[in-house]
């Protein structure tokens, strides 16, 4: 391909991706000018024929295109295709979660990619995973209840601490603090001996056994290493690198961990993505999640329909659900909202407030019986003088 031909491709009005594919395809080949012209013409006419005409009812068509395959989806929950141990919601329930813009998916999960030095080495990958996976105090040593002295005694296992690359002092410092901050239990005192690796917890009221046992529970369950929301981490080798899959999601804290590749790591919690990475990222995440949910069931929907829905949800800068607390409930037309859900409330409120309905949308015109502003209804005809 000659530089002039490349220049011609650049000047064409085609999507950027098409141009790149074209250039890549032609780069090694020798094309004569005639052939090149015909190629460009055919590419252009193909592109033109895939474009939507003005006045097309894209919203209705997108809704149907996503809804119809939806009736063929099943409600099963399989194990995640790649990782046998982690449960992820699939199928119709997941699609509903996405469309409803749920703040917390029922099975949050992250796919954490690592920086090259960490991803190539199994041990370093494991180190990162320990920094992320929430580990309770129980994993670091023995916890016993001393009923005679009314205290809970923790003997830390220094071998475990070394394996997991966390100094004993850190655990001694973190444990009581976390019990007070995270578990909100403050009725105790503690003493510690760093050299021996021993911590003693004493409840404030020295009489009550109940308090003692309660304290013991807290001590056992307090999380001293890793990120609180991440319940489980699985390390797997895929395509030559080590990747972490998690149950539980906390994008912000995971990004702070050393070794995490923040450019590829993703989560299925769209709300988190919107808060940490912004609304454009959330829009892309919605598209990605919806597409993969549908594809996993073997259903192929043209991505443009899903793009339309994602764009509508993210239009105002935050992720809104499609239902009556989101997009459908914010329509200007009273009749349209009344036709969607909670009919009487909307009509009553509108009557009290003396509202006016402009009759500019589809639903209200159908209700009233006028031609709608879609398709042929959007065409304005002018008569040309006959002579």
């Amino acid at each position: 391909m000659t530089p002039e031909q490349e220049q011609v491709i650049d000047n064409e009005t085609l999507p950027a991706k098409t141009k790149e594919q074209l250039k890549k395809f032609l780069s090694e080949k020798n094309i004569s000018d005639d052939q090149f012209e015909e190629i460009i013409e055919r590419v252009n006419s193909e592109y033109m024929s895939t474009r939507i005409e003005a006045c097309e009812a894209v919203g209705v068509i997108a809704a149907q295109s996503i809804g119809e395959p939806g009736t063929q989806m099943t409600m099963r929950t399989f194990h995640y295709a790649g990782v046998a141990e982690i449960n992820v919601t699939l199928g119709l329930p997941r699609l509903i979660e996405i469309m409803d813009a749920r703040k917390e998916p029922s099975t949050p999960t992250m796919t954490i990619y690592l920086e090259p030095e960490f991803g190539a080495d199994r041990d370093r990958a494991r180190e990162v995973s320990w920094q992320i996976e929430a580990a309770t105090l129980q994993e670091f040593g023995d916890i016993t209840i001393d009923m005679q002295d009314m205290q809970v005694v923790v003997h830390l296992n220094s071998a475990v601490c070394e394996k997991r690359k966390i100094p004993v002092g850190t655990i001694i410092e973190t444990a009581p603090r976390k019990i007070r901050e995270r578990r909100h239990y403050r009725d105790f005192e503690h003493e510690s001996d760093e050299k021996e690796g021993v911590i003693n917890f004493m409840p404030k009221s020295r009489e009550s056994y109940q308090n003692l046992f309660q304290l013991a529970e807290h001590v056992r369950k307090v999380i001293v290493q890793g990120i609180d929301d991440i319940e489980r981490v699985v390390v797997r080798k895929e395509s030559g690198e080590y990747i972490l899959y998690t149950e539980g999601s906390n994008l912000k804290d995971v990004f702070d961990v050393e070794g995490v590749d923040t450019r590829r790591t993703r989560t299925n919690n769209i709300n988190e993505i919107s808060q940490v990475l912004g609304i454009e990222a959330a829009r892309n995440a919605i598209i990605h999640e919806a597409v993969s949910t549908l594809n996993e069931q073997g259903i192929l929907v043209d991505v443009r329909h899903i793009m339309l829905v994602a764009d509508m949800m993210c239009l105002e800068g935050e992720v809104k659900q499609i239902g009556r607390h989101g997009i459908a409930g914010e329509k200007e037309s009273v009749l349209s909202r009344a036709a969607f859900e909670v009919t009487v409330n909307h009509l009553l409120d509108a009557a009290v407030a003396n509202e006016v309905d402009e009759l500019s949308g589809v639903t209200e015109n159908v209700i009233v019986g006028q031609p709608i502003q879609l398709g042929t209804g959007d065409v304005k005809l002018i008569a040309k003088p006959m002579n």
């Binding site: 005409e53 398709g375 959007d378 065409v379 304005k380 005809l381 040309k384 006959m386």
Partner: protein, 55 residues
């Protein structure tokens, strides 16, 4: 402006057919008697006196 979308085409031919059925003078000579067919033929010859106002 000569390439019309399918909606514009439908509207133009429909309006012209309605006019013909209500007694408007024809612009072509034809043997057909159905207003819709006459309108389609006028459209194909590009002489329908109706055009579209695009925003």
């Amino acid at each position: 402006m000569q390439s019309y979308t399918r909606y514009e085409r439908a509207r133009i031919i429909g309006a012209r057919a309605l006019q013909i059925s209500m007694g408007a003078p024809l612009l072509i000579t034809t043997e057909k008697c159905d207003p819709l067919e006459i309108a389609i033929e006028e459209f194909q010859q590009n002489i329908i006196p109706i055009t579209v106002k695009r925003k």
